[in-house]
Symmetry: C2
Subunit: 255 residues, 2 copies
């Protein structure tokens, strides 16, 4: 593919170190268009903005690269890129590099993955990259190397069949300690939630979400297993939420 058009977005906001790293890597492969939120949008899931107008503001923070900040959600950014900004097909959408894991069930809360899923829904091959470290000061060396490898192979080989979406998570280890890349399934895990309860300065009670992540899955073919063993996890993902094997078993609801 000569000079592919690569859309870069994220949910941590256009100034986050993770998207800066991803823009740098993507620029090695073709023309880059950046459309990303103007403020952090973590945990926004697949939210879209329907009751308010959206704004796009071209910024010069990435030099000559066309970079727009948007007041909407990550999914809004992708929709605006595809339907307002681009003049030709987007060849690949990359989202991230997220500051924090989006493995397992985190895919449904994640703005990073929802942005990538939105592009995939509209037929564009898409990859979400996440580093398992929440700090904006985290070492991005391995994440850059992984992004370079996966973007390169995705552009040269394409995606098989109807697959359009990859959820890539990168362990928080050095390049030397990473044992490679494993293609795997989403682990069955979840947050065991809790709320910190407090009183605000006006003595009104508030609740603040907190919780522990718990893996219920003993499989060795999961993303969490791969990450725990210092592999990069790649989960081919999609948007059909039908629980197919239970369709017949729910026939008792029919009249």
């Amino acid at each position: 593919m000569s000079n592919p058009l690569i859309l870069v977005t994220n949910d941590d906001g256009i100034t986050a170190p993770g998207i800066a790293a991803l823009i740098e890597v993507a620029s090695e492969f073709g023309e880059v268009l950046v459309v990303a939120p103007d403020s952090p949008q973590s945990a926004k899931g697949h939210a879209i903005t329907i009751s308010n107008p959206l704004r796009l503001n071209r910024t010069g923070i990435y030099g000559d690269i066309a970079a727009y900040e948007c007041n909407g959600t990550p999914v809004d950014c992708v929709k605006l890129a595809k339907h307002v900004l681009v003049k030709r097909e987007i060849d690949l959408c990359v989202s991230g590099i997220n500051h924090g894991s989006n493995a397992s069930i985190n895919i449904i809360y994640s703005g990073t993955m929802s942005a990538a899923m939105e592009a995939s829904l509209e037929g564009t091959n898409s990859i979400g990259f996440s580093l398992c470290n929440f700090s904006h000061a985290a070492d991005m060396s391995l994440a850059r190397k992984v992004a370079r490898s996966i973007i390169s192979r995705s552009l040269s080989k394409g995606f098989p069949g109807n697959a359009r979406l990859l959820n890539v998570n990168i362990p928080d280890v050095s390049i030397e300690d990473c044992r490679g890349i494993r293609v795997c399934r989403q682990a069955n895990a979840n947050w065991e939630e809790n709320f910190q309860v407090g009183l605000d300065p006006r003595k009104q009670e508030y609740y603040w979400l907190t919780g522990d992540f718990v893996n219920y899955d003993q499989g060795t073919d999961t993303d969490l297993y791969a990450l725990d063993h210092n592999y990069v996890s790649v989960v081919p993902s999609m948007h059909d939420l039908t629980y197919h094997q239970y369709i017949n078993e729910f026939k008792f609801l029919e009249d």
Copy 2:
């Protein structure tokens, strides 16, 4: 099940006619707890609030029924209900009745379905109900009848196996014209998006999301087919987004 505890939530806000109808129906079956957003939260997807405190305010708008409005998203409401408010297991979570369809791909944008999915993730049988009419003045007669039937059967028979989530959509027809209930799969359909572009009073450009819903799926076993033929659609749903059949085909990404 004697006096089951039923959690009622939605995304249109605690004062919407749809949730009022659902509260009325649910109250026929057991103890009802309502926790719903204090303002409309449509299209919020699986968003959660992590950077701000949440508030719960008990309201008397549903008489003796315990009803709380919350400043968070639909998913936040479910988490607060489960982890702050309830003293015993929730037997069933019902979300809606949404004003507007959540069939097919709308499940991933929908706050109504995300709230139900959140409860299902935490092990509670959950049902999202949506009426295919956006008007708050829509006739809810069929929707009430369907909710009554499905809640009744779900409480008496339980859900099979690991199934925890149903996406129920109700056609916008009279009770007489409804042909029954069909258990089906999510259709492959999507929004073909567009943006209305305008100038605000200060001559700044804005973009406002609009679009047409397009069904690419010729199957007769889908939710959209059922609804088009005046059936209620019930899609057993889940949260594993792995595209299992493509795991092996992506092995070319491994080192």
